[in-house]
Symmetry: C2
Subunit: 263 residues, 2 copies
């Protein structure tokens, strides 16, 4: 295990805070849950929380800060969300205006920060069960697709579900459903197995986000609800300001992946 894998969440976040780590967080503080970030003004927070509540598979909420607070009291009370992520993106009226390693200069007292579960947790469960994760093998980004599955809307927020795809050998598909079902707080069970056209995906080799991966003979494409969904949906409503993590540059919580297992 490399030294970054053996770090505690506190050590990893300190490295990040001090600017010693400005790269993606995959592989850091092994076994600890990483999370997506979305920050919105208080005026949009109820609708966004309601959207997440209504669409728990793409939008699994791990923590929500009090308005004006950057402390995620449930998952890492000793962390600071303004500095403890290696790279942030600031969007104004739906346009990316800044990429930055700290958001202390952007933060406003009426902001609410949302931490949402990410697929790293269930991918670890797959790997530990001997189920391959192709984009990790191929060292690229997971392929993501916009589907014809409508999310339940909430106030200003509506849009289609985005899914990620992992090819699974047909004899391991049932096990893949079982092991990922244990983690409903981080996307959980797949939303679709097999024929991509059923959920409105026309070209499996041309994902809408991320990179294409190889599907081998005897493998079935399996689709999970993806954390890109809430960001895409929020962005569509062109909020005056919205802050997210940069892709792959996640927040590292104090909680272990296994703590999210329901059984």
């Amino acid at each position: 295990m490399s030294s970054i894998a053996a770090m505690t969440p506190q050590e990893a976040r300190q490295w990040i805070r001090e600017g010693r780590w400005q790269k993606p967080t995959a592989g850091m503080a092994n076994g600890y849950t990483q999370a997506n970030l979305a920050i919105l003004p208080r005026s949009l927070a109820f609708d966004f929380l309601l959207f997440c509540q209504r669409n728990p598979k793409p939008c699994p909420v791990l923590d929500v800060t009090d308005a004006g607070s950057a402390i995620p009291s449930l998952v890492a009370p000793d962390a600071n969300l303004l500095t403890d992520i290696p790279k942030y993106r600031v969007y104004r009226n739906g346009e990316l205006t800044e990429e930055t390693t700290s958001i202390e200069h952007v933060w406003q007292d009426d902001m609410v920060a949302f931490l949402l579960g990410c697929s790293f947790t269930f991918e670890r469960a797959m790997l530990e069960n001997g189920i391959p994760v192709r984009h990790i093998e191929q060292d690229c980004n997971v392929p993501m697709y916009i589907t014809n599955i409508a999310c339940k809307s909430a106030g200003a927020f509506s849009g289609p579900m985005v899914v990620s795809m992992r090819p699974v050998p047909h004899e391991q598909v049932v096990r893949a459903v079982q092991v990922t079902s244990r983690f409903p707080a981080v996307h959980g069970a797949p939303v679709h197995i097999g024929d991509p056209s059923v959920i409105g995906i026309q070209a499996i080799d041309r994902p809408d986000f991320g990179d294409p991966v190889t599907i081998r003979d005897g493998e079935v494409p399996v689709f999970w609800a993806c954390g890109v969904t809430p960001q895409a949906v929020a962005m569509q409503s062109k909020p005056e300001i919205m802050i997210t993590h940069a892709p792959g540059h996640m927040f590292i919580t104090n909680l272990r992946d296994e703590e999210f297992g329901v059984l």
Copy 2:
């Protein structure tokens, strides 16, 4: 099976809407999930939803309406929350001011309705697994206790967790944990097993709400987070207005209990 047990949710709600059923809903539309109701002004809705989000065991959210809408679009899009519950309670500044069979005259355009999971669902799972449910055998209300377990606070809302207790034969305690863990959307796994004093309960024979039940030799008291918690917490903040169902007079959803099983 009696005729009320065989009703569809639509039939049951129509009876209730027409004033033909003004009694508790236990046993109606057998197999369909029943829910607790809490209605609050929009200004308190974010904090309340956040409180539920942070305390999912006592406050399992099944549906939240848009502000001003009485239609629970996820769990019963053909229902009307203003008329489809047999008995409501209206609280003003924390005081019960009215018990009524319709809230059409109280409803305001800025209100948000919350439906929260109730223990009926996991009690059915227990019974179907041959685990006794004492208060059903004794035909009384479940005993409920205020504990020393602090809920995570959110804005105006804070307070202790309320739990319900069911005595379980010691050889069935593990199975009781397993079968109720399948239903995290309706309180899920117990919060405590055994010695009541550990969670701040001094007199197991004198519950804070509901009725005492017999604990037989060889039985262990098992405690689950209780849906009374969010109502008690909201009431403590003395909102200008809050509407709930009357105890036992629940909302009947279109969803089957089994649909909430995570595996």
